[in-house]
């Protein structure tokens, strides 16, 4: 029944995806539909909880059908148009390897009941508690005994797990890892179809393979997988808008970023990083205002969090801790380097960037700037953490950097692979 829940999520998200961007088609439409569907599920369950309506499968299904129906109605009144000059999508044999990686990830994610500590102590715990209560259990979140469960974390993932439990008529974590795998599949579809518009089939297929590898989070059941998918999807759509002045892509990007912020607090930092990057590189800085859906989607949780007094872990004395830790900056840097996951990939990406002509790096500066700002934010967090900093780095740095590998890889690979008419490399005399 988890499969039914996932399918329902995608179906509900389909008209919403078309409402935001009528140009979407193929895998990009399917992947975006699923990711937006997770947002619809999150919104429905949260609003029902706020309104005091107990969750039941018929009630939730009715609300989802209502939203999907309203979106479909709105979509039917809009004209469809295709991106002018977009390359047609073509499958390539490398896609078989991509399918194999996705299949392997599904097999891994569902090999056993979800085993990750942070699943049964944070994400799955909340999902299960809320399922038992048939609503958001604010008393549970507010209890000081449950501070370990990070009550300030946004609820997109727990509520989607609850949604799966409603369809399964009971909580069973045996198959919940499929949600992580579904998020990976969604971002692979988006990457493959969007890159096919600007790259040759072999290059697009190779990039799709990389997306499958880096989008398939090993942290099954945690929010890393959804954050990678939602965040990267949001950034890719904003990039598409910057290159083609496509309003639909900007809308979709903004909404996906809002949903990323509704998944983990790092998603909130991602919105800030995207805004900073747009401030630096957008031709029309007033466009930043058009990211308002991201903030609008995030605001209900911020308000609810404040209203219920749900505390974050950083607390007071942030500046004091920052100043005190400056003296240990070299030790922190050394620990960060030591704990870095996939160091060879990071080196390969940096080497790739160096190989790319400057003009191509400029084309990908939005993505690269977001990755840089987000990395800075993660490092800064260690200077203000209330926990033991070395312990915190050892237990979180590899997970956090996994959020950034996919957008970084996409920026580098697209820069390496781009071929455009009258491109600068001819001017440099490269045959």
């Amino acid at each position: 029944m988890v499969a039914v829940a996932l399918l329902t999520t995608a179906v509900v998200g389909l008209p919403v995806a078309l409402l935001l961007n009528r140009q979407l088609r193929g895998g990009a439409l399917a992947g975006t539909a699923f990711l937006l569907g997770t947002g619809v599920v999150y919104g429905v369950l949260l609003m029902m909880a706020v309104a005091g309506v107990q969750w039941s499968l018929p009630a939730v299904a009715a609300a989802l059908i209502l939203i999907a129906g309203a979106s479909l109605l709105a979509v039917s009144r809009r004209k469809r148009d295709l991106t002018p000059g977009a390359l047609p999508f073509r499958f390539h044999p490398i896609d078989a390897a991509t399918v194999a990686v996705i299949g392997a990830h599904f097999a891994f994610a569902t090999i056993a009941p979800v085993w990750e500590w942070d699943f049964w102590a944070i994400w799955g715990l909340k999902g299960r508690v809320f399922y038992e209560a048939r609503s958001v259990d604010w008393r549970f979140l507010g209890s000081p005994w449950n501070d370990f469960a990070h009550p300030d974390y946004p609820l997109l993932l727990p509520l989607n797990l609850t949604h799966a439990a409603l369809w399964s008529a009971g909580w069973d974590d045996r198959w919940l890892g499929a949600f992580t795998a579904a998020c990976a599949l969604a971002i692979v579809l988006i990457v493959r179809w969007l890159t096919a518009e600007e790259c040759s089939p072999v290059v697009s297929a190779a990039i799709g393979f990389v997306a499958a590898s880096l989008g398939s989070s090993e942290h099954v059941g945690l929010a890393e997988g959804p954050l990678i998918a939602l965040g990267t999807g949001g950034l890719l759509f904003i990039r598409r808008h910057l290159h083609g002045n496509d309003d639909g892509s900007l809308r979709a990007g903004a909404v996906l970023l809002g949903l990323a912020a509704s998944t983990k607090n790092e998603g909130i930092a991602l919105i800030v990083s995207a805004v900073l990057a747009l401030l630096l590189f957008s031709r029309n800085r007033k466009e930043i205002v058009r990211l308002w859906p991201a903030a609008a989607i995030l605001m209900p949780w911020i308000v609810l969090r404040m209203a219920h007094g749900l505390r974050g872990e950083f607390g007071a004395f942030v500046i004091d801790r920052f100043v005190n830790r400056l003296g240990a900056a070299d030790a922190i840097a050394a620990s960060l380097l030591q704990s870095l996951a996939q160091p060879f990939l990071w080196i390969a990406l940096l080497v790739g960037l160096i190989c790319v002509p400057a003009a191509r790096r400029v084309r990908e500066r939005f993505l690269l700037a977001v990755v840089a700002f987000q990395l800075l934010a993660y490092v800064a967090a260690y200077f203000v953490t209330p926990r033991d900093v070395m312990w915190h780095i050892a237990t979180s740095w590899s997970r956090l950097t996994s959020h950034l590998l996919l957008p970084f890889a996409l920026a580098t690979l697209l820069a390496l692979a781009q071929r455009r008419q009258g491109e600068e490399d001819r001017a440099h005399g490269e045959a």
Binding site: V101, A104, A107, F108, I111, A112, P113, W115, E116, W117, W120, A121, G124, L125, R128, V129, Y131, E132, A133, F140, S143, W145, N146, F148, A149, W171, A206, F209, V210, S213, L214, E218, Q342, F344, L345, A348, L349, V351, G352, C355, V356, P357, L405, A409, T412, L413, L416, A417, D425, H428, E430, A431
Partner: protein, 143 residues
């Protein structure tokens, strides 16, 4: 020309370096061992399997909304009690699980007296409460 070759090499390097081959290898050639490892990953020895079975029975013998104080042999938060408490919170979701020690290893007698039930696994609790059920190395005490 050399730049083009270097770009191609860098592209291929990134593609090759992006995959975690150890997971693929284990899925293809060590599936049963991987499954067995991950099935027990949440619950280290000596907790597995009796502590989990104990919590399963506690869940069956309590009602939603019951407050349950948790006693286990680990008396230090960082050396076992936190694991036992978080695990109980998950497996007894719907009940209110109350710790008996704080992260600073301070005992919480108020939680012991306030709880509807006490779930004591491989530990003795000095409290005047009737034993409702015994099994899997533990006892469930009533009010």
């Amino acid at each position: 020309m050399w730049r083009r070759h270097l770009s191609l090499l860098a592209f291929l390097l990134i593609v090759v370096a992006s995959t975690d081959y150890s997971v693929v290898y284990r899925l293809l050639f060590r599936y049963d061992a991987l499954r067995s490892t991950l099935r027990q990953a949440a619950d280290p020895s000596p907790w597995f399997p009796e502590y989990i079975r104990f919590l399963g029975e506690v869940r069956r013998k309590t009602a939603p909304g019951d407050s349950i104080a948790l006693a286990v042999p680990a008396l230090h938060w960082e050396y076992g009690y936190s694991y036992a408490y978080y695990r109980a919170s998950y497996l007894l979701a719907g009940r209110e699980v109350l710790p008996l020690i704080t992260p600073n290893d301070r005992f919480l007698p108020d939680n012991l007296s306030a709880a509807d039930r006490v779930a004591a696994w491989q530990s003795r609790v000095l409290a005047d409460r009737p034993a409702l059920w015994k099994g899997h190395g533990g006892v469930l005490l009533g009010r």
